[in-house]
């Protein structure tokens, strides 16, 4: 098991290098160091000397990937790529182009992101599984049909409508929660209630339908029939057997997103003014802060790969039949 994990972790390294190179290439195609300098120096009275100075100061005056002028070793190391991108492997995010320590900001902003993503995730799974169980329980009845139709209808509505509608109804018309913002501690609850509600509701359609299919597949199996024949009540059959066995496919879709909860949700955060990593990323894209974008891409990839590994491990835990190979 441990050997497997180590092997998987080693396999992640070339992937991360690839990610790094790709982001680097993409970003510098978009954004010449001159552009970055101009954004950071502001719009008024920017002279070419000031731009040159800024680039020199931040180390953006070097060649991108290959420094022909350098000594043998410095040919590769004295470049923007080496100076700015490779340090990430030590989880050293460095400083953003406006001088702030990125690691510090990420650590600060991680919590609001988590505070909104985690409840959506947990409450979401509970609610969706409950609904799916209900539908599976009433399978074939009018309730099931109505439920499935409702699911499809809910799936067909863009997430943006849920957010806009929810904000309009709950904050503006009913004045139940603040329109947007964030606070620490218990005060956060009033800011988080609506985004969490919207997040859960907007996911109902797709998830419930998915879980319902999984449950129905299990219910059709022989052992369930046997259990029922033994006289177990339907609820018990559902919980004891169906849910337990359905727990194998559910983690595939679920576990992989857990690490990504840290990086937050772009739309929710920007709509509800939550100072998490999602809005951090959007801001960085808009202000062309390469250092932050790169750090966030790297972080996202690391977490994604972590999610994949976690998924595999969960598999073995919930289903001993699966062996890691």
């Amino acid at each position: 098991m441990i050997a497997y994990i180590i092997r998987r972790l080693l396999y992640a390294i070339p992937i991360l290098i690839g990610v790094n190179l790709l982001t680097f290439a993409l970003f510098f195609f978009v954004n010449s160091p001159d552009d970055m300098a101009r954004v950071h120096l502001g719009g008024k009275r920017v002279t070419p000397e000031a731009i040159e100075k800024w680039k020199e100061d931040r180390g953006y005056n070097k060649p991108l990937l290959y420094n022909a002028a350098g000594d043998s070793g410095a040919k590769l190391t004295d470049t923007i790529f080496f100076k700015h991108s490779l340090r990430l492997f030590a989880l050293e995010f460095g400083r953003s182009d406006n001088g702030r320590n990125i690691g510090y900001d990420i650590r600060q902003r991680m919590w609001p992101s988590l505070a909104i993503a985690l409840p959506i995730f947990i409450v979401g799974i509970l609610v969706h599984i409950t609904f799916a169980m209900l539908l599976a329980f009433f399978r074939g009845s009018y309730l099931d049909t109505a439920g499935v139709v409702l699911c499809v209808v809910m799936m067909s509505v863009s997430a943006l409508f849920y957010v806009i509608g929810g904000q309009y109804l709950v904050s503006m018309l009913l004045r139940l929660v603040p329109v947007s913002g964030y606070d620490v501690g218990m005060d956060a609850v009033k800011f988080l209630a609506l985004p969490v509600l919207v997040g859960v509701v907007s996911g109902i359609g797709a998830s419930t339908r998915l879980y319902r299919t999984l449950f129905l597949e299990e219910i059709g199996k022989d052992y369930v029939r046997t259990a029922r024949a033994k006289g177990l009540s339907e609820l018990r059959v559902l919980f004891r057997h169906v849910l337990k066995n359905a727990m194998i496919p559910i983690p595939t879709g679920v576990v992989v997103v857990i690490p990504l909860l840290f990086t937050g949700s772009l739309i929710m955060e920007s709509f509800f003014g939550i100072p998490g990593l999602g809005s951090y990323t959007i801001d960085a894209i808009n202000s062309q802060d390469f250092a932050i974008v790169r750090a966030m891409v790297f972080l996202g990839s690391v977490l994604y790969i972590l999610g994949l590994i976690l998924t595999d491990i969960t598999y073995t835990l919930v289903d001993p039949r699966v062996r890691l190979s």
Binding site: P14, I15, G18, V19, L22, T23, L26, F27, F29, V30, N31, V152, V153, M155, S156, V157, S158, A159, L160, F161, I164, Y168, T263, L266, I267, S270, T281, I282, I285, N286, V293, M296, V297, G300, S301, Y304, I305
Partner: protein, 466 residues
């Protein structure tokens, strides 16, 4: 010619897609084993009703994909001057909607503007009032007649629509009834839904659609039936224009990614070894980059390119089009990985199957084995993915446009409409019709696509076909 045809990049791809769909349909029709699952789809009333709705959307989308430049004038040397403005067939058909632009917001069916304006009377008096619209309800002498006028037009349109519908049904029944069957018998059979193909559902949906279209056609020349937006453009027209954007994103994205996903997926599963490693490495790398960031970076770089080469793009339409195409490409790049993974898994299983081993033993080349034996056997996976992805992509467009990395802001799209509607929702009194219109049109497309894709999946997925 009074016009000059103009082929945008996406147009060409759409024609290509259309051609390949037709070819595929033709091929399927000639092969009995391929027709079986489709027949199953055709028996589902829900699916067929959705198909009717989808057909309407596709028709509008296709009409909006035939572009031309109108002729401005013919000079004395016979030289023709064409406009720089690129129009489509749909624009041509909705010229009234396109050109009847009010000054600013007006509510659906309004005859007066939505906000007060200072009006100067001939006697020099100023007053703050709701001015009449220049086009919406302009035929009315007295604004108070509006309700009766609308009711009259709705009544007329509905009746006309119903009449047309009945006529069509009559024609259909004439074609459909059995040789010895009486007319009334056939109608009864249709009414009771006693047919393999759910004709009743199809005709009901068609009827509803015909009546709706008739109403829209009858009312929209006289009123702005979905209101107007901030610069006074007809929202109904904008929603119609957005259909093409949604369809293009939903279909071209998959079209673009299919070759990669299919070739790489099958190769990885078939060859295994280092080929597999390389392909797996590529898609894991790609899929581990957060999608939005990848899209944002790609769209930004496109803007840089367009900004640096302004001369390659003559009109705003062309620039918007290239961005749309690019968005499809990049969405394709972010979404091909999952299909690739599925195909790889399936091919891994398939290559151990007897007849493929046999084909190899008989000396068929790798390429021919993959093309003739593997590909047909994974076709259902591809088909299901294409159909299932469609609605997700249409929804994704809206979100991306909201984040600012979607289609060109000058292009009509539901995402852009929703985005501006956010501001409108905060107005007082609230401007709700852009949002509502985008919602209705988008919902119609996505819902019918979802229902249809369900049927396709059920029919093709061997796991469920027990």
């Amino acid at each position: 010619m009074p016009f000059q045809l103009e082929f945008l990049w996406t147009d060409i791809l759409i024609y290509l897609l259309l051609a390949s769909t037709l070819a595929f349909a033709f091929y399927t029709a000639r092969h009995e084993h391929l027709r079986v699952p489709w027949r199953q789809v055709a028996r589902r009333p829900m699916a067929m009703a959705s198909l009717v709705v989808l057909t309407v959307y596709v028709t509008v989308g296709l009409m909006d994909s035939v572009h031309y430049r109108p002729l401005l004038e013919i000079r004395n040397q016979g030289e023709r001057v064409y406009s720089n403005e690129v129009l489509s067939l749909l624009d041509r058909m909705t010229t009234l909607l396109r050109t009847r632009v009010e000054k600013t917001y007006s509510a659906p069916f309004a005859v007066q503007a939505y906000s007060k304006e200072t009006v100067e009377y001939p006697d020099g008096r100023h007053a703050r009032e709701y001015p009449r619209l220049s086009y919406g309800g302009a035929h009315l002498q007295n604004p108070d007649d509006r309700a009766t006028d609308i009711a009259r037009r709705i009544g007329f349109a509905t009746l006309a629509g119903l009449a047309l519908w009945l006529l069509l049904i009559a024609g259909f029944v004439w074609w459909w009834r059995g040789r010895a069957e009486s007319w009334s018998g056939a109608v009864q059979r249709l009414w009771r839904g006693e047919s393999q193909v759910p004709w009743r559902a199809i005709w009901m949906t068609t009827g509803v659609l015909i009546v709706l279209v008739a109403n829209a056609a009858c009312l929209s020349p006289f009123y702005h039936i979905f209101g107007t937006d901030q610069v006074g453009q007809d929202v109904f027209y904008k929603s119609l224009k957005s259909i093409r954007t949604g369809l293009v994103i939903g279909t071209l994205t998959t079209l673009v990614m299919l070759p990669f996903a299919a070739v790489f997926g099958i190769m990885a599963g078939y060859f295994r070894g280092w080929v597999d490693d390389v392909i797996q490495y590529t898609y894991t790398t790609l899929s581990s980059i957060p999608g939005v960031l990848l899209i944002a970076a790609a769209i930004l770089s496109l803007q840089v390119y367009v900004g640096n080469h302004p001369d390659s793009f003559h009109s705003a339409t062309e620039r918007a089009d290239i961005r749309l195409l690019f968005l499809c490409l990049i969405l394709g790049v972010t979404s091909w990985t999952s299909l690739c993974r599925l195909l790889r898994g399936e091919t891994l299983k398939l290559r151990e199957v007897d007849y493929i081993q046999a084909a190899r033993a008989l000396g068929s080349s790798h390429v021919s084995v993959m093309a003739r034996h593997v590909l047909p056997n994974v076709m259902h996976i591809i088909l299901i993915t294409v159909v299932l992805d469609f609605s997700g992509l249409v929804l994704a467009e809206a979100v991306l446009s909201y984040v600012g990395v979607g289609v060109d802001p000058t292009m009509d799209s539901w995402g852009n409409m929703i985005n501006s509607a956010r501001l409108e929702m905060a107005r007082e009194p609230v401007v709700w019709w852009s949002l509502a219109s985008a919602f209705v049109f988008m919902f119609g497309l996505v819902l019918s696509a979802n229902l249809f894709s369900d049927a396709v999946r059920d029919a093709f997925d061997p796991r469920l076909r027990k």
